[in-house]
Amino acid sequence: MKIEHNKNFTVGAVITCFMLAVILVGMFWTPYDPNAMDGAAKRLAPCLAHPLGTDNFGRDILSRVIEGAGATFLIAAATVAIGLAAGLVIGGLTGWYGGWLDECLMRLNDAVAAFPSILLALVLIALMEPGRSSVILALGVLFVPSFARIVRAEVARQKSLDYVASARLMGAGDVRILLLHILPNIVPVLLPSVAIGFNNAVLAEASMSYLGVGVQPPDASLGRMLNEAQGYLMSAPWYALSAGAAIILLILGFGLLSEGLGGDAGA
């Protein structure tokens, strides 16, 4: 598979690589302990010691943004992984076998997709308890239908192609055909959806944590930080701005990547 080097893709790749590098470094080192409070340094404006200022408890915002971006990224990635894995299984089965199995699973799919997603996520989280893993699970479930639908359509399309018929005529079993022959051929179509799904997951995590049902204090996540920052919009605008900028960078990078990939896959 070759990726055409268009501008979107390049810029997206640069931004994404930058964010990934920051997140990776943040796992081992941040300028300050993200949770260390300093009563003498509350709501400091950006300065040399604290490039992005400090928050209401005197915690270093740069350190918290780095840590929060990491948390948000991991949650989004896990969410997409769940949605994609289940989507592959459901879409693969329905697209390949069709018939009543297809009817049942796709109606179930539609049912999940019919609920307003944030609302459904809130309900699901309420059934468990607020926190990181609940958010991942709830959002993951929400992401299944869209992936399932894409995979199903693509599998059904590939199924009618001659090379699949050839494989069947060689006596290849269903599992072998699906995993070895069809799966690699649908990856190019899936990649842009994965990138878009990741962005939606970042936004959804931010919303959940902003609403207070996501990552719990004192842990940092970008949505959690926005929630905390809203009280100080006037007195410490750098707090909200830093968290917001990090969200935008994450989304922008993957958005541009997916557009770069999408243009290529469509060609």
């Binding site: 001659d162 018929a165 006596g171 290849a172 022959h181 051929n185």
Partner: protein, 260 residues
């Protein structure tokens, strides 16, 4: 070896009966042609023989006996054990019958992976051997290539290699040369002939072109509107066509090439 008895195939979607009572028999090593105009039901017949038709899409009756087992009623497992191993199929479209993302050599090996216990090294050796036999240039190099890096003729050779590598008993070729230009066509026919001769593989060659069939097959069946209207020794049918439709088919061949 293969015996078709009163095969009927009706599509449930359209209600059209594409095959309306076909009887055919092919013995080991025999080469038989199946000719007929477009839409006469040749491909549907081939698909029914090879088990490619989804059983719930059609209403089928009759029998397709392969070495005594009815392929129309046996279990999917039993069918799969015959597919590829005993019966190989080559399609019209060499452009699309290879997986675009899989190395050519791997696809030639595929059938060995499915049906044999051969080690990877052994598989590779057999694949290279088959690729050399079908006249693919530099098998070692071609093995590592992807389908889009091959010409149409080379792809069709690769497809034939992938069907041949396991030495099936019957090779069903549905218009294997239609998408290729004339010189390549002749080469592929020659290849099929040598494959059949060297390994005793029976061939069912489907074509709308009597000349193609005449070059390769010792017997021919003429299909018209879902039925076999004439059946016999190729030269005999050419010299003394019994059926009106066969006469028209022969008459349609340009004079210059009729007695080549």
């Amino acid at each position: 070896m293969l015996e078709i008895k009163d095969l009927h195939v009706r599509f449930l979607s359209t209600g059209k009966e594409a095959v309306r009572g076909v009887d055919l028999a092919i013995g080991p090593g025999q080469r038989m042609g199946l000719v007929g105009e477009s839409g006469s039901g040749k491909t549907v017949t081939a698909m029914a023989l090879s088990g490619l038709i989804e059983r719930w899409n059609v209403d089928m009756s009759g029998q397709v006996l392969f070495e005594g087992r009815d392929l129309l009623t046996c279990s999917r497992e039993q069918l799969r054990r015959v597919q590829g191993k005993d019966i190989g199929v080559v399609f019209q479209e060499p452009m699309t019958s290879l997986n675009p993302l899989m190395k050519v050599g791997r696809q030639v090996e595929e059938v060995l992976k499915i049906h044999t216990q051969a080690s990877p090294a052994e598989r590779r050796r057999l694949a290279l051997e088959a690729m050399a036999q079908v006249g693919l240039p530099e098998p070692e190099v071609t093995y590592e290539k992807y389908p889009h890096q091959l010409s149409g003729g080379q792809r069709q050779r690769a497809v034939i290699a992938s069907a041949m590598v396991i030495h099936p008993k019957l090779l069903i070729c549905d218009e294997p040369t239609t998408a290729l230009d004339v010189t390549v066509q002749a080469q592929i026919l020659e290849l099929l002939r040598s494959v059949s001769r060297d390994y005793g593989v029976a061939i069912l060659l489907i074509s709308h072109d009597l000349r193609v069939v005449r070059k390769l097959c010792e017997s021919v069946a003429v299909m018209y509107k879902g039925r076999i209207v004439e059946h016999g020794d190729t030269e005999e049918v050419f010299a003394h066509p019994q059926d009106e439709y066969t006469r028209r088919l022969i008459a349609a061949i340009p004079k210059r090439t009729r007695h080549e």
